[in-house]
């Protein structure tokens, strides 16, 4: 179990650094979604299922949807129908 913990914590650090260094804003939000998911799994390992459910629903769900909607409004998503 400790090996799994170390691997997950390593992924967390990589995701956080990658979300900061990425130039494309869409990529940054997607990496942030995966960061939120790994955080939810870590909380499950720390025996807190309430936090895991809430973080999975809120972090990887609603917050990311709000980010995508904002990116669409500030014209950072390519290929959408508005100019």
């Amino acid at each position: 179990m400790t090996v799994l913990e170390y691997i997950l914590l390593g992924f967390l650090l990589i995701c956080a650094i990658a979300a900061n260094l990425s130039k494309n804003l869409l990529n940054a939000v997607l990496i942030f979604m995966s960061y939120s998911l790994i955080m939810s799994v870590i909380w499950m390992l720390l025996q807190s299922p309430d936090l895991a459910i809430t973080e999975a629903a809120v972090g990887a769900g609603v917050t990311s949807v709000l980010f995508f909607l904002t990116l669409r409004k500030v014209h950072q998503l390519r290929g959408t129908r508005d100019e």
Binding site: N20, A28, W43, L46, S48, D50, V58, L66, Q76
Partner: protein, 127 residues
């Protein structure tokens, strides 16, 4: 230094806090700042949840009746983090709404350019 390997959750939480803070201060794009703020938030929740863990014990749900306090982890930091997650999503939603209005007015998301445009506006309006 030996304790840092045992306390690996808290050490990684502190490093993530530093990474998020650096992202918040150094990026010029406003959305990257909000992402940095969110990373800081979740790092603090990781720290709190790790403080509530006791090795060898289970989640605080009484499945077989009350078995005494030495069978469950500490439930108090869990409650604090639960409130914190919802507050974090509220702050994120509000700052994203502010970013949308800023873009509507200044047509840019770069903080330096927004400050320069604001100074120009203030200079023109005070003449």
């Amino acid at each position: 230094m030996q304790n840092l390997l045992i306390d690996h959750y808290e050490a990684v939480a502190v490093i993530l806090f530093g990474i998020g803070f650096m992202g918040l201060l150094l990026h010029k794009n406003l959305i990257k700042k909000v992402i940095g703020l969110n990373i800081m938030d979740t790092a603090i929740y990781l720290f709190l949840a790790a403080k509530g863990y006791i090795a060898g014990r289970l989640a605080p749900i009484l499945v077989d009746g009350v078995q005494g306090a030495e069978h469950y982890i500490n439930p108090v930091p869990s409650g604090l983090v639960l409130t914190g997650i919802v507050v974090s999503v509220s702050v994120t939603a509000f700052s994203l709404a502010l970013i949308q209005r800023l873009y509507l007015k200044y047509k840019t998301l770069n903080l330096d350019e927004i400050i320069i445009l604001q100074k120009k506006e203030k200079g023109e309006s005070s003449k």
